[in-house]
Subunit: 157 residues, 3 copies
Amino acid sequence: MTDLNLHLKINDFYTRYAESICDGDIETWPEFFTEKCLYRIIPKTNYDRKLRIGPMFAESKGALKDRVVAIKETLVYSARSITHLVSGVRIVSVQGDLLKTRSMLAIYQTLVDGTTHIQLVGRTFDSIDLGDGTPKFSERIVVFDSELLAGALVFPA
Amino acid sequence: MTDLNLHLKINDFYTRYAESICDGDIETWPEFFTEKCLYRIIPKTNYDRKLRIGPMFAESKGALKDRVVAIKETLVYSARSITHLVSGVRIVSVQGDLLKTRSMLAIYQTLVDGTTHIQLVGRTFDSIDLGDGTPKFSERIVVFDSELLAGALVFPA
Amino acid sequence: MTDLNLHLKINDFYTRYAESICDGDIETWPEFFTEKCLYRIIPKTNYDRKLRIGPMFAESKGALKDRVVAIKETLVYSARSITHLVSGVRIVSVQGDLLKTRSMLAIYQTLVDGTTHIQLVGRTFDSIDLGDGTPKFSERIVVFDSELLAGALVFPA
């Protein structure tokens, strides 16, 4: 695959990932990950100190599916709309089928009857596995800039 | 045209569309549409229920030109600057010269002497006609996340 | 170089530029410029009237390096995180090794213990020199929408 085709494929992957969350198709979200994977949302202050605590953490696609069940059936939260803006998607390195990639992300949240506010902004540091033909995240680390999030983080980033 | 060239052309089209609004060249804005077209800005709550009411609606380039005349000559509003951030431009399907496309959009508005605030964020669901050589929107549906907009929507999205 | 390769190269350049600021690698920031260069951040109201006053101005890479020293050693400011979202990167014209380019930019700033807010949004009007193999800004004009910035502008845009 040429650099250009790979670049287009990875950008498309990030775009469809954002759509799965913003369109409310949260059931499709775990399918963007490999079976064994690392998913983590952590504040920059912890990331910079190599600490690992953050508001979301999972080590398998099964755990991500649990999260989806929680969102759809267990968690109590007010209805909200989410829009992701993603920029700066970049392929940092390629080793066979494994890519290191990164991006910049802003997530806007709107509660029913409410105005739109910034939920989080930050950078993502990701690994993508091209092994089975379609890209999948084997790792996705979302590093957000604030120490506290304004309100609960219901949906993934 | 290869996928890559088409992708570049469509991204370039979305970029120049945003520039026409953010540069204040609002006269050029209707030229991004075909003669017969559908332009609609609607809240997500209505879009999800297949209701059609929203703050802007037009069915022809002529109606868009009317809007431009209103902006330049009739409407009374305080001066403001607009910046569009667009991401996630994606070609969903291609049928001959007709493309279904979509994007994520954040519009920032700044009143004179004021600070910058988010006017709207959301997704656009569009149809683009390549028939006359340059892309034109035959349909542009802007679905924004909030039920209410903070302040009047003077400029198009 | 084909249009596609050039487009990819320029997008990559804008992305790495944003990373150098958001990753805190501010020492690397001047290396994105040619030795003789023009760097300017100005409010839209001045830009539109062809006035030149704004919160940052430099005419050489040396002056940018001075800014870095100020940020790292002299200026007193509270710690903050920065995220840049960049969209609409477009090559406006090509003349030999010199490109005119532009982009849309939103900068989010987060103070320690604080929430994320918009620091500035606007457009950049740039010149890029490809003469020595890697792109460098020979000119970067950041035109922001507000007349006042909320808080000090410590880091470059």
